[in-house]
Symmetry: C2
Subunit: 205 residues, 2 copies
């Protein structure tokens, strides 16, 4: 039987997914949400207040996590509502037809916390959920994790940093700091270790 | 028989890989290099002057393209030389042991061109090569393409752009421009279309 590890999700990493839910009127909704793999069959989401996803999850106590690399699904579900014909039902739950894989989840707990970031104070809802059915539609797929890309982007700057003027160098260093934050938020131990080596290399120069 | 399409590489897209080569003394070298898929069995690289990879490729007329998500291999091969014990031989060619897949390639042509970017004028060598053997070591893998990550990063800014001050907004817009350049360089038609929608959405606001 499949679990999160067998579909390539590792404990502690955050994956970029599309979560599909259903509102009280029975209409589907989709939004790009980061999903943290906590264990073989356990995930955690951080959801902002006043979003359809949160409302629907609170009503139904369940949702579907869609794994896809399709860029238009990410864009359309962010800047507008994803068209109805992108969805299909698995048992009585909406999923996204073009997803490479998807799984259903049942909410275990919802906890509200205050969070402060560079934009200001916001209320975040921490959703713990258990994974139910995992459906793989395309054999060759990997869940989307941003850490390796943050590292590759940092390496692009590292390899150019000695060729540029001070102003550009500061922009590069600021970007590497930003990428370090991404790696610490979404990556695994090997990503964090790789990022540490990059920072040490820059320090020693 | 496998070809680039069957291992998930699409025509026109650029993939982040590690290229392994051998120098005149028979020692292995590895470097992170972008590989453009031109056709089922044809690739193109853009290599900077005075790099070991270029020198070795000119000597041997062949090289190995390693597909991996291992962050330490990317970091170590950029900031230092990859340790000898990372390599193994397939027939008489070096590849990287931990790669999820790799393929050997034979140079068809090398063309020098002058290129100008924000750093200045540089000489770039355009290498056309034919793909020989493709070896898949891990069933579940995907070649690394940055386009979807550039789109996801842009969407993070899009979803926050109305919450921030003018200064931060300008930083976000500059990043979205940078991500648009990445998508145009490494992405496919669907990625470019997705990016266009993001830009149009921002314009219409």
């Amino acid at each position: 039987m499949d679990d999160l590890h067998s579909i390539g999700m590792e404990k502690g990493l955050l994956y970029e997914t599309i979560i599909s839910t259903e509102n009280e009127a029975g209409e589907p909704n989709a939004a790009p949400i980061g999903v943290i793999c906590k264990d073989k069959r356990e995930i955690v989401l951080y959801l902002n207040h006043a979003t359809h996803t949160l409302e629907n999850i609170k009503i139904n106590k369940n949702f579907t996590v869609n794994i896809t690399h399709n860029p238009l699904i990410f864009v359309n579900s962010t800047i507008s509502d994803l068209d109805f014909n992108y969805f299909k039902k698995y048992n009585d739950k909406f999923y996204i037809k073009e997803a490479e894989a998807f799984f259903t989840a049942t909410v275990e707990s919802v906890k509200e916390v205050e969070k402060e970031d560079n934009i200001g104070k916001t209320t975040v809802n921490i959703i713990k959920a258990n994974v139910n059915d995992i459906i793989i539609k395309e054999k060759q797929f990997t869940p989307l994790n941003r850490a390796i890309f943050a590292i590759i982007e940092s390496l692009v700057y590292v390899s150019r940093i000695e060729l540029v003027d001070d102003n550009t160098r500061n922009i590069y260093l600021e970007r590497i700091n930003e990428m370090t934050r991404v790696v610490n938020r979404v990556g695994g131990l090997d990503h964090k270790e790789a990022m540490k080596r990059i920072l040490k290399y820059l320090e020693d120069k």
